[in-house]
């Protein structure tokens, strides 16, 4: 509780410092808006309905990317689990996945899929597919032998064992991979929009920068940071509860 209060205090102090720095000219108003203006701009945006029009395509693409990452990652992970030979051949390559600057694929995806929501969904899901697949494998690897034996005692076949034993056991691990996939979906979609896209929040931020529209720029910035932080905090709390329930610390 004291920690939470301390953290809230830090946020408040930083905001006040920024406010003061901009108002007294230590930081140029052309570069950074004071936090009070950011909040006012965000409220105006929300009130006019513009915010929702800008955010709707982004959230749709993020949701699609998350769904694709989770479903694709589970299928890919199960495929690797079912074929040890395939797994041996490509797992070392997969383990370098975070080293790949995924945005380098974005122009290529635009070339192949056309400019629109599809390359955004693909770039948002690319990282997550692998993080979900690898976390599923990690969970499946850790299943203790006695649990597997007890499943055989119950007469469970391979499919029933997968469904009733292996997947439930691996669930907290998969959740961890899915959490990374959610963060990556926001990063991928908004980043893609920022670089090149017909619409969306990332595009609106880039446009606001090009048009020198600082209130819009910082209102949107505040919105994106708040939404993503709230989603990540929620997932983090959910994951922690599940891990405590399972004794994974």
């Amino acid at each position: 509780m004291a920690l939470a209060a301390g953290r809230a205090g830090i946020v408040l102090a930083l905001l006040l410092a920024l406010e003061a720095a901009v108002r007294w000219g230590a930081v140029s108003r052309n570069a950074v808006a004071p936090p009070s203006d950011m909040v006012a701009a965000l409220l105006r945006l929300a009130g006019s309905g513009l915010l929702w029009r800008l955010a709707a395509p982004t959230f749709a693409a993020v949701a699609a990317a998350i769904a694709l990452a989770v479903v694709g990652g589970l299928v890919f992970g199960l495929l690797l689990a079912a074929s040890p030979r395939l797994r041996r051949a490509i797992e070392p390559l997969l383990l370098s996945y975070y080293a790949v600057p995924i945005f380098v694929f974005y122009p290529l995806l635009i070339v192949v899929l056309g400019l629109g929501p599809l390359p955004l969904v693909a770039i948002g899901a690319a990282f997550g597919v692998i993080s979900v697949a690898l976390s599923l494998l990690q969970g499946l690897d850790r299943l203790p032998t006695p649990i597997l034996k007890s499943a055989r005692l119950e007469g469970l076949g391979p499919w029933a064992t997968a469904w009733h034993i292996r997947l439930p056991f691996a669930a907290p691990f998969v959740l961890h991979g899915a959490k990374l996939a959610v963060a990556a979906a926001f990063i991928g979609v908004i980043g893609g929009e920022f670089i090149l896209a017909p619409n969306g929040l990332g595009r609106a931020i880039a446009n606001a920068y090009n048009d020198f529209d600082n209130p819009l720029l910082y209102g949107l910035l505040l919105f994106v940071i708040s939404v993503v932080t709230a989603v990540n905090l929620g997932l983090h709390a959910f994951e922690r509860r599940l891990r405590e329930q399972r004794g994974l610390a």
Binding site: K149, L153, G155, I165, P168, F169
Partner: protein, 267 residues
């Protein structure tokens, strides 16, 4: 009287892997478990006790010999009516205590009310009533093992194989759990086969004790304890208990030395 569980000429040799030669792990051995008895199998570490249990439960195919349960050959699958409790924690961390205990019953397609009734009774019997909705991670090791025992017993098996079920528990808890096991045995009237490395546990709990040799494990001696079925850890102070443990150790000590790679005249 017909044998409840019978092993004839059972042996297990683990196949060669890489450069290592084939490893004879068990037997050949013959074994007969009588209906309703409490039988313990004691042997030095690494003598193949757990392999024996896996073979008896149909989890592992023997390299030679045959296993029969209630007159029918055991092959490739665990026959109905045979329950197993493992040494390591096999509770399901994603299910609550009552869901864990009801897992096997639900798989058998019992009506929900019947499952709930039997699970509740098992929970009460195991002293887990306060933890019915807890997850295994919130329980102590001893309580988790009780969940596993309850999950097996609730399906009312006619024969229960227990593989060092109390190995992870402290000495006092082991004694109490042993008493509970005796009570359950008298109540349910099932046959019990307990695999253990503890001479005291075997001497205290069993009707008969089988002693196994060092690897590859064979049966070297069978001892009847002569206890009445109404017995408990009170026997610890009985002079017959000390004599019995002494006899077991005299027979087993050379094997234990051999398993450790010590000469027979060492010590």
């Amino acid at each position: 009287m017909e044998a409840h569980l019978r092993l004839e000429g059972v042996a297990k040799v683990f196949a060669a892997s890489g450069r290592s030669a084939p490893v004879p792990a068990l037997g050949p051995l013959d074994l007969e478990v009588r209906r309703g008895e409490f039988l313990s199998i004691v042997g030095p570490s690494g003598c193949g006790k757990s392999t024996l249990l896996d073979i008896a439960a149909g989890l592992l195919a023997p390299s030679a010999g045959r296993v029969s349960f209630e007159g029918r050959e055991v092959r490739g699958a665990t026959p109905p009516g045979l329950g197993v409790v493992f040494q390591q924690d096999a509770s399901y961390p994603w299910l609550t205590v009552s869901e864990n205990i009801g897992f096997g019953l639900r798989r058998r397609g019992l009506p929900a009310q019947a499952v709930a009734d039997r699970v509740e009774e098992a929970i009460r019997l195991m002293g887990l009533s306060a933890f019915a909705r807890a997850y295994p991670a919130q329980l102590s090791g001893g309580m988790r093992q009780r969940v596993c025992i309850a999950r097996t017993l609730v399906t009312e098996p006619r024969l229960v194989l227990l593989d060092e079920p109390f190995a992870a528990l402290d000495a006092q808890t082991r004694l109490l759990m042993g008493d509970e096991l005796l009570k359950l045995w008298r109540r349910a009237g099932a046959t019990i086969v307990l695999i253990t490395h503890s001479l005291e546990e075997a001497a205290l709990l069993s009707d008969r004790v089988l002693l196994m040799s060092a690897r590859p494990g064979r049966i070297i001696e069978t001892l009847a304890t002569g206890w009445p079925s109404e017995r408990s850890s009170d026997l610890l102070t009985d002079p017959r208990f000390a004599a019995l443990t002494q006899r077991l150790w005299t027979a087993l000590a050379p094997e234990a030395r051999r398993a450790l790679g010590l000469g027979s005249e060492a010590a």
